[in-house]
Structures are given as C-alpha cells and as structure tokens.
Amino acid sequence: MTRHPRQPSCTPAEPTRRRRDLAAVGLGLLLLVATAGCTGPVRSDGVYASKAAATAGAAGSAVQTAELAVQEAAAGRLFSRGLAQTLAEAASDAGDVQATFDAIQPPDRRSEVLRGQLDRLLTPAASALADLRIAARWGDTAALPSVAAPLPELAAELQQFQEAHQ
C-alpha cells in the first residue's frame, strides 16, 4: 500500500490482474490459517494412526487433569468451586475429543481395528470424567476418590497407545 503507483513498464491490464492474484493468494492464506486447526478427511492409515495417537494424548491430558484435581481436593488443596470447574472442563474435553475422533472415517480395515482399540479406552474415560463432574457438582466430595479410581490405569493405557502409534 505505497503512495507510489505501479511500475511504468506494466500494461494497464497487468496491475489489475496482479492485484486479483494477490487477493486470491491472500484469501487462500486466510482460509488455510482458518482451517489450520481443523480435522480434514483422512486418506492413508498412517495419517489415521497419527490422528489416533494425538486423540489418545488429548484424552490422556483430560484424564490426568481430573486425576490431579481430585488428588489436590482430597488433600484439601483445592476449593470445591475450582474442583468442579476443572472437572467440568476435563469431562467436556474428553467428550469433544471422542466425538471429533469418531467423526473421522477410517480409511481401511486396519484403521477400523485401531479405532475399536482406542474407543475401548475413550468411552470409559469419558464416562468416568462425566461421573466425576456430576459428583463434584453435587458436592459429593467423599465419593470422588472411588469414582476416580480407574483414572490412573486409563491414563497409563492411553499413554501406551499414544506412544505405540506415534
């Protein structure tokens, strides 16, 4: 956007075209940026496996967050509102992660097997986190440790899954 007009050597048609090209490139960039974080269609099982690994990582992060929050609450280090908030976020993250992953079409049979394996971890994780959220909202602090009992094992399995398919 300078004050100086275009190069004198250009024919009148060129600058317009150049401007249009520039606009197209800009628009393309904008779209790319906007979609940079989104999930696209998956064509190869390698890509599917890496998406599965990332999903396991994200679910593991939610499980570990909940686990840490419950530990802190049990030790009297977290007040109930902070706990409820943290657990609600963890539960909703786990649900989102699972929904996003389930929406991806597995490209082949092998990927379908992988999906089954991961789903067997995601479903109990999401449901345990939902249970925790409900217990925390009701102020049922005493019940939390028992509801949270399966979390460490789930977290470990999710981590193993992530490392195996990275």
Binding site: G37, S61, T65, E72, R81, G82, A84, E89, Q159, E163
Partner: protein
C-alpha cells in the same frame, strides 16, 4: 524520599503489569509440552521488550511523542495505514482475549459461566478507561498483579532439582512426543507473547500521559531494566511450574484452570486464591492497556487529541474508539469463541506483526531531530539490529509454521 517511593511504585507496577493472558497461556502451555526446552525464548523475548520499551520510553520522554504518532511520520500515510490496520486488529484480538481471561478467572472463583461475566467486565473496563486517573489505574492493577509472585513461591517450595532444570533449560531438546515444527511454532508464540506490540504503544503513550520529560529518563530505565526482567521471572515461574507438575503427567493445558493446578498442588487453597487474584489482576490490567492502546493507535495515526489526562469531551474521538473497541472485543467473546484459543492466535499474529512496530521505533530512536543527544548508543543499535533481524525471520516464518504444524496441534 518521595521520588524514591514513586520510583519503587513504578518498578513494582512494571513487574505486576508485565504478565498478561498471552504470557499465562504461552508460558503454561510451553512448559507443559516442552518442559524448559523453550525457556531460552522467554529470555530472548524479555530482553527484546526491555530494549525496545526503553527506546519507546526515551523517545516519549524527550520528544513528547508516542510510538504510533511516529509510525505515521516514518512510514507515511499508506504503509502507516496498513500498519495501523494490522496493529489495531491484533490489539483488538488481544483485548478480547484479556477480557476473556478476566471472565475466566471470575468463573474459576465463582463457578458461574464466564460468558455471563463478559458484558460486566467489558463495562467495568470502559468505566475505568472513562473515569479513573491514569496513575491510579496503572498502579492499582500493577500492584494487584504482584499476587502472581505466589507461582514463583510455589516453584520454590516444590524443591525442584535446580541443577537438572538448569541443564534442561540450557540444553533444549524437542520432546519425543512433539514435532520440530510445533517446537518452532511455540517458540514464535512465546516471542509474540513477550514482545506484544501493544506493550510499547501503551508504555510510550503512558509516558506521555504522565508527562514524562528528560528528567524522567532515569525512571524510564529503572522501570524497564528492573521491572521488566522481574515481570519476566513471573512468566518463567509459570513455565517452570507447568514443567514440574503438568509435563510429567502429559497434561496439555487448554484452560486457565490448569495453569493454577501446580500452585494449588504445592501451596493449597491460599496459594490458589492468590494465583487466581493474580490472574484476575494481570488480565484486567492488560484489558485496560489494550483498550486504551486501540484508542491511542487510531488517534495518534490521525493526529486527534488523545489521552486520559484530557477530559473525555476534549478527546471524544479517542474515547469513542476505546468504547467501540471494548464493545467489539466483548462481542467477539460472546460468539462463544474459546478465549484460550483466541489468545493463542493473538500472540502468534502479534509475532508476525512485530517488525511493523519495532522498525519505525528503531529508526526514530536514531534521529537527533527527535532525541537530540539522547539517540541510541552503538551498543544498543547493534543489539537492536540483531533483534530486528530475528523479528523479521520470525515474522516471515509465522504463517508457514502455523500451517505446517496445524497451529501447534499434534
């Protein structure tokens, strides 16, 4: 004695005012994902903002001119307008992110959905911009922001293995679970969060608001040379806390609540309360700074009267821009855009726009027509040039890295 107190107050304000939602998010996230592998970027970023904020303060003190005023003079109307559009857009995104940060801190303390707080926070931010004296506003939020020191205390009380931490900070490696593109993407985000352009808009305009003159050059240096590094230490503490507590558990934080978990783990409820107070104060402070910066940049580009030292009727167009920016920022949040995601985009775009602000500033800081004998020394020019080169590289690399690393995602 009174002068000394004033200086001490200024430095304390600079410490508390250094951290904003960008630092909270970037430091916690990089600490949790890369341990201390990106701590060096924080050091680079803090040194950079020290270097350029000092210049901005010096230019403002000696010539009475704020940064955007000079951007227009140096870059001309066309390039200056492009710069204004980019800077305003990024500052507006940051403003929205800060309002979101305030609302999220309140949600953590009350369990009430943050969206309900957004209009209230927006209104209060406007009210302070409208009514409260600059010095009172600046000092109050800065001092409250000092509550964040609790994060550093938590790190201390966690008795970490300092030797191992030093080693991992000085021998950075990319963790096996992360890609190199994600590493560099977050390096740029961290740089953007430390050197956010609004910081120099606000710092230089603030110097004009407080009518700094040549005699305040010492105050400027003390604020910058002591206040900023200590503020940077708070950002580092957030990163270390995340590296100690979140990284080993594989937690990739995506909520403000997770940034507080390490502090409550070590220090319990009181620590948590102080951390939340710190989050609240530093995001509120930054919300005010970004709201005013929106007004400053537009008014300075167009040569309108601006500033809180004027009655609102004396600077109505400035006040109108501030009001409109807050409304737009709050409106953006009410679309239920995730404030943490918004913050990530704001700091990365800040990084891309850094040369736009820092190049004209560096040129003016060498112009005796503005600074007389107070132009840059050879040493600061040498360092500033090296920084500018780094900023240009980072700026060019930002968008490609964003695309390749899928915005830092897995």
């Amino acid at each position: 004695m009174r002068k000394l107190l004033e200086i001490a107050l200024g430095v304390l304000t600079a410490i508390g005012g250094f951290v904003d939602i960008g630092d909270l998010v970037a430091s916690t996230e990089t600490g949790a994902r890369f341990g201390l592998g990106l701590a060096w970027v924080l050091v680079v970023g803090v040194l950079g903002i020290i270097l350029y904020a000092e210049m901005a303060g010096r230019v403002a003190s000696v010539s009475g001119r704020a940064v955007f005023d000079l951007v227009r003079e140096r870059l001309g109307a066309g390039v200056g307008l492009l710069n204004l559009a980019a800077s305003f857009f990024i500052t507006l995104l940051t403003l929205a992110a800060e309002i979101g940060g305030v609302a999220l801190s309140l949600q953590l303390a009350t369990s009430v959905n943050y969206l309900l707080f957004v209009p209230i926070v927006g209104f209060l931010v406007w009210l302070v911009c409208w009514r409260v004296r600059f010095e009172v506003m600046d000092n109050a939020v800065g001092l409250l922001g000092l509550a964040l020191v609790v994060v550093a205390v938590a790190v201390w009380r966690a008795h970490p293995d300092w030797g191992a931490m030093w080693h991992s900070a000085t021998h950075p490696v990319v963790p096996g679970t992360e890609s190199h593109t994600a590493y560099w993407y977050f390096a740029i985000a961290l740089l953007g969060s430390a050197m956010t352009p609004y910081e120099v808009f606000f710092f230089s305009s603030g110097a004009v608001e407080q009518r700094w003159t040549r005699s305040d050059l010492v105050v400027n240096r003390l604020n910058v040379y002591i206040g900023f590094p200590l503020g940077g230490l708070l950002a580092l503490a957030l990163m270390v806390a995340a590296a100690l507590v979140l990284e080993p558990r594989g937690i990739d934080p995506s909520h403000l609540s997770q940034a507080a978990l390490p502090t409550s783990l070590v220090l319990g409820k009181l620590g948590l309360a102080l951390a939340l107070l710190g989050f609240f104060a530093c995001t509120s402070g930054a919300a005010l700074e970004t709201a005013l910066s929106c007004g400053y940049s537009v008014a300075q580009y167009l040569g309108w009267p601006w500033g809180k030292f004027l009655k609102p009727v004396q600077a109505p167009r400035f006040q109108l821009v501030v009001l409109a920016s807050i409304t737009l920022g709050a409106g953006l949040l009410l679309t239920t855009l995730d404030p943490v995601k918004l913050t990530e985009y704001a700091i990365v775009l800040s990084a891309a726009a850094l040369p736009l602000t820092y190049l004209p500033l560096l040129i003016v800081a060498n112009d005796p027509a503005y600074l007389g004998d107070k132009v840059n020394s050879r040493l600061s020019n040498a360092i500033a040039s090296a920084y500018l080169a780094v900023l240009v590289v980072a700026s060019v690399a930002t968008i490609p890295l964003m695309i390749v690393s899928k915005a830092g995602g897995g």
